[in-house]
Amino acid sequence: MADHAAAAHSHAHQFDDMEQQLDASTFGMWVFLLTEIMFFGGLFLGYTIYRSANPEAFREASHHLDLRLGGFNTVVLIASSLTMALAVRAAQLGQRIALVNYLVGTLGLGTVFLVVKAFEYHHKYVDHMIPGLAFQFDGAQPMQSQMFFVFYFAMTGMHALHMVIGAGLLVYFILKAQAGRYHAHYFGPVEVMGLYWHFVDIVWIFLFPLLYLIR
């Protein structure tokens, strides 16, 4: 028990000091994010190729996305990145209450994003725009337009899955922060959580113009 309490205030035994430990965890998280860049990169590449091959069908299909909801979600997600960045700052300064509040704010905004996304998905379901046997599209090239929705659901679906995982992680961090686990000498996990959250934000920064805005 005493060992555990001490561990919260000093670096793990394999590191020289706390700064090296923080650098190592930041580096490790970025290596993971690199695999994520390549993962989403493959989806972006596939989308670019199919969009270039079927420009008219993709344009027609993209007109069925709600620009206002997409724009609203962009604002919500960027705001959640701000609260996440402020949460990391509060952790660096050892402000426990502020840290908890900013994390709760981030979780709240992330939840708003997911709820709006769920309404968008439901709307597509009602309109028979989910790819599959029930897909119906009133356009010149319905099969090619269906490809747009395959990419739309694959890309925003993978993004939403990342958001759900991020929201779950935030709940864990809120509980730990409330218990006073993080302070000015130990905030590495919050910093790494922030890196993940901002990365998911960046993916949306590209998804929004590519899916909603190019018409």
Binding site: L45, L82, V88
Partner: protein, 100 residues
């Protein structure tokens, strides 16, 4: 410990810049610029992503190793997109855009 704590003002300034860029990209999408619409949308998105990486993700003050890792990620992404698309384009597998 020698970590860098940024002033709150900096985070709000970056947030404001991101909001302005979002407004710009939505406004430009309403105007028909032909193929330039895609270019503007991607330039704005890249600018926003760079702001988030440098300021929100603290890469500005990260160790050289971390900065190298971040740069490697984007170089590899450019290779993935660039080499594949150059193959498609040079083989004539994609239709020519209008006006070419």
């Amino acid at each position: 410990m020698t970590h860098h704590v940024e002033p709150k003002k900096m985070y709000f300034a970056i947030f404001a810049a991101l909001m302005i860029l979002t407004t710009v990209t939505v406004a430009v999408a309403e105007i028909d610029l032909g193929p330039m619409n895609v270019v503007v949308a991607l330039v704005v998105a890249c600018t926003k992503a760079t702001l988030v990486v440098l300021f929100f993700m603290h890469v500005r003050h990260s160790s050289p190793l971390t900065r190298l890792t971040v740069a490697a990620g984007f170089v590899w992404l450019v290779l993935l997109l660039g080499l594949t698309l150059s193959d498609y384009v040079s083989r004539g597998w994609l239709p020519q855009p209008k006006g070419w």
